[in-house]
């Protein structure tokens, strides 16, 4: 049996010290060791996006990251982002637009969408579609998801403008 490797990492703001097998992926670690089941396993080779999490502030595929590679890192899963309230507007918009049915893609979609609205606040509808093209949804047909994200982009832009107008 392979040696276990010690890792220390922060997940959703909490520190953890664990021993993991080198072959354990970050997604498996989050789900099986930490019990954070919001991160999903779909294709397990990086194309479907269901395993998307934040590693040191950037979205990555949990299935293509080994847990040992997250040693010393800050990880945010859907549970952490949701609890912090930083994707509340995205979640509300998803609900309003019926942008989820079975919910399997949703955590990955939200993590991906969060990076978009932060990195590309001026994204067009076409750019939103391109950005989420790495997250597969088998239920909704995508338009509702795009609608939700487009609405949040508009909302955030309006909020950013408001303080100046009040002056």
């Amino acid at each position: 049996m392979a040696d276990l490797y010690p890792i220390r990492l922060t997940v959703n703001g909490e520190s953890h010290q664990c021993h993991v097998s080198p072959r354990t992926t970050l997604a498996e670690f989050l789900r099986e060791v930490l019990g954070l089941k919001g991160t999903h396993l779909g294709c397990e080779h990086g194309v479907c996006g269901a395993c998307t999490v934040e590693l040191n502030g950037r979205t990555v595929r949990g299935c293509l990251t080994l847990a040992v590679q997250a040693d010393g890192a800050q990880v945010q899963t859907i549970e952490g982002l949701s609890r912090r309230g930083v994707i509340q507007d995205l979640q509300d918009a998803f609900v309003q637009h019926n942008a989820l049915q079975c919910g399997f893609c949703t955590s990955g979609m939200l993590v991906t969408a969060k990076e978009l609205v932060e990195q590309r606040p001026d994204a067009s509808r076409a750019e939103v579609r391109e950005w989420i093209s790495g997250n597969y949804c088998r239920c909704t047909g995508y338009h509702a998801i795009v609608d939700a994200i487009v609405e949040v982009l508009a909302q955030r832009k309006a909020r950013a403008v408001l303080p100046m107008e009040e002056i």
């Binding site: 080198p22 397990e44 080779h45 990086g46 194309v47 996006g49 998307t52 590693l55 950037r58 979205t59 990555v60 595929r61 299935c63 293509l64 990251t65 080994l66 040992v68 590679q69 991906t112 990076e115 391109e130 950005w131 093209s133 790495g134 997250n135």
Partner: protein, 247 residues
């Protein structure tokens, strides 16, 4: 990593290089643009130095998979993996330059044209690590083009072309035309390059170049496209790129 998941690689030992900061960074070094092996695709995509000195890379980067892949995948990793359908190997061939590797015997430089030798095979010797590449920055008369066909955004290329040249009036000088998704390795279309070199780009020249490319390449079929379809599509892409170069 994906090859591990698909059981295409079964390494007994996997070494994580990500703590080697010396392999990071994009910088002008002398008259060259140096890109470290650990620079991520996203960093290339958003780098002002790349936009200025190697804009071909900025144009190709959005075609690489999706954002979450680009945040983790690296320039050196892609080059060393040498997938014939990947963007960076063809781009490196189009740009030219040197691949810098380091091993037990020290550092050496491998010309880009000598680096990709076969399917998933490079000139790296056992024990060597790709450290960085150095490419010549684009001159003021530089032309470049990148075009890729994929069934869906982010898929591996069905066929693609990365090309650079210098403008000389209505002609392209010293063109470098590299293909992706066509053979077992990214390769330049040398005969077509020679045909185009220094010739004014008119409809006749473009038609001859397209015919030359189709005759020159020997595409392998893949899961979704036959050799003849790839051959045809390669010509279509070259036609489009050269037509845009006319403008």
């Amino acid at each position: 990593m994906a090859t591990l998941a698909m059981r295409l690689s079964e390494p007994a030992l996997l070494i994580d290089l990500s703590a080697l900061d010396a392999l990071r960074g994009i910088a002008r070094v002398g008259d060259r643009l140096r890109i470290g092996a650990l620079v991520t695709h996203s960093e290339i995509e958003s780098s002002p130095l790349v936009a200025r000195h190697a804009p071909l890379l900025g144009q190709a980067a959005p075609h690489i998979a999706h954002r979450a892949i680009r945040n983790a995948g690296t320039w050196g990793g892609s080059l060393a993996h040498a997938d014939p359908a990947a963007e960076w190997p063809a781009c490196l061939l189009a740009l030219g330059g040197a691949v810098i590797v380091r091993g037990p015997d020290g550092e050496r430089r491998i010309d880009a044209d000598d680096f990709f030798v076969g399917l998933y095979e490079t000139a790296l010797q056992p024990g060597e690590v790709l450290v960085a590449t150095e490419i010549e920055p684009a001159g003021s008369d530089a032309w470049f083009g990148f075009s890729e066909l994929a069934r869906r955004r982010g898929d591996y290329a069905v066929v693609g072309i990365a090309a650079t040249a210098s403008r000389a009036g209505a002609a392209l000088r010293a063109p470098r035309i590299a293909l992706l998704g066509v053979g077992t390795t990214s390769a330049r279309a040398r005969r077509t390059e020679a045909l185009l070199d220094g010739r004014a780009l008119d409809a006749g020249t473009i038609a001859q170049a397209v015919a030359s490319l189709r005759a020159e390449i020997d595409p392998l079929p893949d899961l979704t496209h036959s050799s003849s379809t790839k051959r045809h599509l390669a010509g279509v892409l070259l036609q489009r790129l050269l037509a845009s170069a006319q403008a």
